[in-house]
């Protein structure tokens, strides 16, 4: 039998990612942006 040398991909590595989407943050940031872009703010 012929030994077929296969190009083995390197040893598999494990990657773990945990994502927790917190819409409360978006609401909080949204409120703060409301102030930055309010009529009396000197940034807008």
């Amino acid at each position: 039998c012929t030994h077929k040398v296969q190009v083995e991909t390197k040893e598999p590595i494990t990657i773990n990612i945990n994502v927790k989407i917190d819409h409360e943050i978006r609401v909080k940031v949204d409120k703060e942006l409301d102030d930055i872009f309010s009529d009396d703010s000197e940034l807008f």
Binding site: V7, T9, K10, E11, P12, I13, T14, I15, N16, I17, N18, V19, K20, I21, H23, R26
Partner: protein, 320 residues
């Protein structure tokens, strides 16, 4: 009232307005009333709907209703037809609703043989289209035998579901759901996925709260993940260099457990077997995703409306 005393048959003709809204023509022949209500704006029936489903608002659409009402035993037997109805159920809007059916009313309540409700589209934050719902009314209790529709590039099917807030189990199956469209819901720049998933999501209703347990989605075939220009990913990849393998990943197998809590919290546990072609590196990628899907849909609906307002204003403003 044209009364004819000789043959003592009382014939009368009435044009009624019920609940100050519903126009009906009634032709009485002794104990039988022939009722007909043609081309009625369904919004006129809002008062009726408020009695058993207040969260439903009838906005547009034409209804025909005609049949016979027997004074003795106060039973009704007739037909109805709804055309291009637009409805709002809580925050979800539906348009292009069409259905017809044979409806009866007797001492046990409303009875309706199996009918099909077609709905062109529902905007829940995510468009759901070409919906078909087979429904029945049994003693005024509504039952969905089966429902199907198009969503996120694929389709879904729901098996039997009672609409009378009883505790029950049903099964939602999904087919060919495009991963690209699912990722697009996150509105994250620079993340491109290909491939699709199908699976079964066992759904239960307990004291009027809906949840999914032990749902499983599996990829149909191979797919790819490419990440380029996503600020959030770039910042974590700086700390963990092997994450960079995820910038270009080809996967053969992808599966995810699915849990949806009754408060809307969605838990996804992806297991992805793939490899980074450039570095010939095999990768087992486990991705846990937690998000409240109700707030996500609400924010999508809000941004839709904001987006439309901006575009609408700009169109008016000068960019024609």
């Amino acid at each position: 009232i044209a009364g004819d005393l000789q043959d003592k048959s009382l014939v009368s003709e009435h044009d009624l307005i019920v609940d100050e809204a519903i126009h009906m023509n009634i032709h009485q022949q002794q104990q039988t009333l022939t009722v007909s209500s043609e081309q009625q704006a369904i919004s006129n029936f809002q008062s009726v709907v408020n009695r058993f489903m207040p969260e439903l608002t009838l906005q547009e659409g034409m209804l025909n209703l005609n049949g016979l009402f027997e004074l003795q035993g106060s039973t009704f037997d007739g037909k109805f037809a709804l055309a291009n109805g637009a409805l709002k159920y809580n925050e979800y809007t539906a348009k292009g609703a069409v259905t017809t059916g044979h409806i009866q009313f007797n001492s046990a309540g409303l009875q309706l043989d199996k009918s099909t409700l077609h709905i062109e589209s529902v905007n829940a934050g995510v468009p759901i289209e070409n919906i078909e719902i087979e429904y029945v009314l049994h003693n005024s209790k509504a039952n969905i035998n089966h429902a199907r529709g198009d969503i996120l590039g694929g389709t879904f099917n729901v098996s039997e579901l009672w609409l009378d807030k009883r505790n029950q189990h049903t099964q939602v199956t999904v087919n060919d759901i495009s991963l690209a469209k699912v990722v697009a819901l996150q509105q994250q720049s620079g993340i491109n996925v290909t491939g699709s998933v199908s699976g079964i999501l066992p759904m239960s209703v307990n004291n009027n709260e809906v949840h999914i347990d032990d749902g499983l989605l599996k990829s149909e075939g191979p797919g790819t993940l490419k990440i380029d220009g996503n600020p959030a990913f770039d910042s974590i990849a700086e700390q963990q260099s092997e994450l960079n393998y995820l910038r270009d990943l080809q996967f053969e197998q992808l599966s995810s457990n699915v849990t949806l809590n009754s408060d809307g919290l969605l838990l996804l546990d992806f297991a992805i077997l793939g490899k980074n072609p450039n570095q010939q590196q095999a990768v087992n990628f486990n991705y846990h995703h937690e998000e409240n899907v109700l707030t996500l849909l609400r924010s999508l609906r809000l941004t839709d409306s904001v987006q439309n307002q901006i575009e609408h204003k700009i169109k008016q403003g000068g960019v024609q």
